[in-house]
């Protein structure tokens, strides 16, 4: 039997009982739509929400919080040599691991800093203490403007006594009489999300969209090193530095400002002592694409350090459990649908015994009968998958629309909660066809095996 002949027979066979065909398609479609909806939701949450909050391809290595975290060797090391520090030798060890793409050190400013600025957003300056981190400029891949995210302090910087002695955009650091560009600062998308989701609503301030974020690039503020609005503690000789916002990056600390690492090293050395300039607060370990973080985690723990618990594991586990629960519900629907297909086929085949007997009499082989009946199952599977996917996609569009129009803004609110990945669509199509084939296989085999004489003479 040729494909054309089989296709022609299939179409006419399905067309003669459109209601039965539609019912079978409906049964499968319901299961696939539920399964597709929850899987797309799970993928969407992973891709559009969780991955923005908790990147899965990188680790944050921190010094051990307690001796329990360190393992036997680490604990012994702590007892003999004091607490473990994150230094350059740890960076070298981690960089040598085959699964590690890059290691970027991070250092926190170890003394009080206060600052003011923000007139371009709220119309008047905001005064606050500033948490500042320094990170390796190589860690930032995002475009920055109007300045590159790098260290601009150099012995060759021009001498000055006032700003007008300096090139355009630079200012005069009067304490050292050197021209410098403002210190480039990046902020995290998290801080923008929280600003939009909370502060902008609370104080009726404009939200910072992608456009506005670009507009804010170049916004300057002033930091006063060694002084605080909160604490009376002062370190070293207070002096002011200009800061300029150059971009948004998920490598920046979630709440606070992030500047190139050399600035923080110099400031810590000056205000908090040499030791503070040697000790990194954490290391961002970027894992190679396609590699698991597991082996790197093992190495980190072996070295006696900890992985920053940012909640990603728990959040991922929660999503996984929820997805598993919904998938189980969907699968039970599909099991019922599969049984329905099997039942439909048994009934249909029983009703069509004479027809199948005639086909055998005029030359259909057992294989031909099997192909015809399984072909019908494939049609039901494809029809069920397509209708189910359309329904789940429409439901997803409805939820997204409701979220857009009826829900208030909140941090990390996505434009869509769903992701119908091509692999998901293909997988559901394949799965639908497979369960229909599974449901039809037994009755189809039984029909193909029966003797043509018995089929023709069946009452």
């Amino acid at each position: 039997m040729t494909i054309r002949q089989a296709g022609s027979l299939l179409v006419r066979s399905l067309w003669r009982a459109p209601r039965a065909f539609a019912l079978s398609v409906f049964g499968i479609g319901v299961g696939i739509s539920v399964l597709g909806f929850f899987l797309a939701l799970s993928l969407g949450m992973q891709k559009r929400v969780l991955s923005r909050i908790f990147p899965t391809d990188r680790l944050e290595v921190v010094p051990p919080k307690t001796s329990v975290d360190q393992g036997a060797l680490g604990a012994l090391g702590s007892l003999l040599g004091g607490s473990r520090q994150l230094g350059d030798e740890v960076i070298a060890t981690l960089r040598a691991h085959p699964d590690v793409l890059a290691v970027f050190p991070r250092m926190k400013v170890a003394f009080p800093v206060r600052g003011w600025g923000g007139e371009r957003i709220v119309g008047r300056p905001i005064y606050t203490d500033l948490p500042i981190d320094g990170i390796d400029p190589a860690a930032v891949s995002e475009a920055t403007a109007p300045w590159a995210f790098k260290d601009y302090v150099s012995a060759e910087n021009p001498f000055c006594t006032e700003d007008k002695n300096c090139p355009s955009g630079w200012y005069c650091s009067w304490d050292i009489n050197k021209c410098e560009p403002p210190v480039p600062v990046i902020v995290s998308p998290t801080i923008l999300e929280f600003y939009n989701g909370s502060f902008a609503r609370m104080y009726g301030l404009p939200k910072i969209s992608g456009f506005l974020a670009n507009q804010l690039r170049g916004m300057t503020a002033t930091a006063e090193l060694g002084k605080s609005f909160i604490s009376r503690r002062e370190s070293g000789k207070p002096r002011q530095r200009k800061l300029v916002l150059v971009g948004v990056s998920d490598r920046a600390q979630p709440f606070g400002l992030t500047v190139p690492l050399p600035y923080v090293k110099r400031w810590n050395a000056e205000y908090a002592g040499g030791g503070a300039a040697q000790e990194y607060s954490s290391l961002t370990v970027q894992v190679r694409p396609g590699k698991s973080v597991t082996r790197v985690v093992e190495l980190v723990r072996k070295l006696g350090y900890s992985i920053e618990d940012n909640g990603a594991e728990q959040a991922g586990l929660a999503v996984l459990l929820m997805t598993a629960l919904f998938v189980l519900v969907s699968l039970s629907t599909l099991v019922v649908a599969t049984l329905n297909v099997a039942h439909t086929f048994f009934r249909a085949i029983s009703e069509r015994r004479h027809e199948l007997g005639v086909m055998r009499a005029v030359g259909a082989s057992q294989r031909d009968i099997l192909i015809l009946l399984l072909g019908e199952a494939v049609c039901i599977g494809v029809g069920g998958a397509l209708s189910g996917l359309v329904v789940s996609w429409l439901a997803a569009q409805g939820i997204d629309f409701l979220s857009k129009t009826a829900l208030p803004d909140f941090p990390f609110k996505p434009s869509s909660y769903f992701w119908f990945a091509p692999e998901l669509v293909a997988g559901l199509l394949l799965f639908s066809v497979l369960i229909c084939l599974l449901g039809a296989l037994w009755p189809a085999r039984a029909a193909a095996k029966q003797s043509p004489a018995e089929a023709l003479t069946a009452k």
Binding site: M1, T2, Q5, A6, S8, L9, R12, S13, W15, R16, H354, E355, G357, V358, M359, R360, A361, V362, G363, A364, S365, Q366, R367, D368, K449, Q450, S451, P452, A453, E454, L456, T457
Partner: protein, 251 residues
């Protein structure tokens, strides 16, 4: 399958088949349904060009014998009879399902008492059905032309688009005969072909069989109707699974 001719769809024996005149040879055939032995050592030979009637009471084993000869008594794992049945020189017990299906498709036409037309297909599509399962199917145009000729041969050229539900019993049986003739078979096996027809229509079908026989087709008809038996060249009577009488009806 020969496709060179587009005339009346009955066939003379092929050159390769002429080596033997024995079309069907049944030797010591036995068949049981559970504890009941339905066929008890049947020996029968049918030669090319014969028109044989197989008669007997209900339950005498006529239809069972016809099904076995036509290769319809086959299930997964093989045949369920003892003895030997040779059809066109092939021991059908030795054929695979695919080979036996191809033999049925090309060389045997079946006509049943209940017509067994597919209700969702038109008359033309019913006649074309064997082409769907042919190892080398005819092209669409040629197949349709041949099916149309077969319908005209049985007097239903104008019914090609009709559904079986729109036809009378006699017309349905004619469509079934046209279907059996699509590939110009060597042998036509008929199981009570007039059993569901009135006298007049039945007589027309008998005359059609006689016409086909005159054109060279070999026919084996299971019947309990004397007038059908009278129309044949040989009559084989079965009783309780045994052949009890063979006779050639008077012209």
């Amino acid at each position: 399958m020969p496709s060179e001719s587009s005339t009346v769809p009955t066939a003379p024996p092929r050159p390769s088949d002429q080596a033997t005149q024995d079309l069907i040879t049944v030797s010591n055939l036995r068949k049981r349904f559970g504890d009941t032995e339905v066929l008890r050592g049947i020996d029968l030979t049918i030669q090319r060009g014969e028109m044989v009637a197989l008669t007997g009471r209900s339950g005498s084993g006529k239809s069972t014998l016809l099904h076995i000869i036509g290769g319809l008594d086959y299930r997964q794992g093989g045949h369920s009879y003892e003895g030997k049945v040779e059809l066109l020189g092939h021991d059908i017990a030795q054929l695979t399902d695919a080979a036996l299906s191809a033999l049925r498709n090309r060389h045997i036409g079946f006509v049943f008492q209940a017509f067994h037309l597919l209700a969702h297909l038109s008359c033309l599509d019913n006649v074309l059905l064997p082409n769907a399962f042919a190892a080398s199917p005819l092209g669409q145009a040629e197949a349709e032309q041949r099916a149309q000729l077969a319908l005209e041969r049985v007097g239903l050229g104008d019914k090609r688009r009709s559904r079986p539900s729109e036809l009378s019993g006699g017309q349905k049986q004619r469509v079934a005969i046209a279907r059996a003739l699509l590939f110009r078979p060597t042998l036509l096996l008929c199981d009570e072909p007039t059993g569901n027809l009135d006298d007049y229509t039945g007589q027309q079908i008998i005359e059609l069989f006689q016409e086909l026989h005159r054109d060279g087709l070999t026919l084996l008809l299971v019947t309990h109707e004397p007038r059908v038996a009278q129309a044949t060249t040989r009559l084989v009577r079965l009783q309780s699974g045994r052949i009890v009488e063979t006779e050639e009806p008077a012209p």
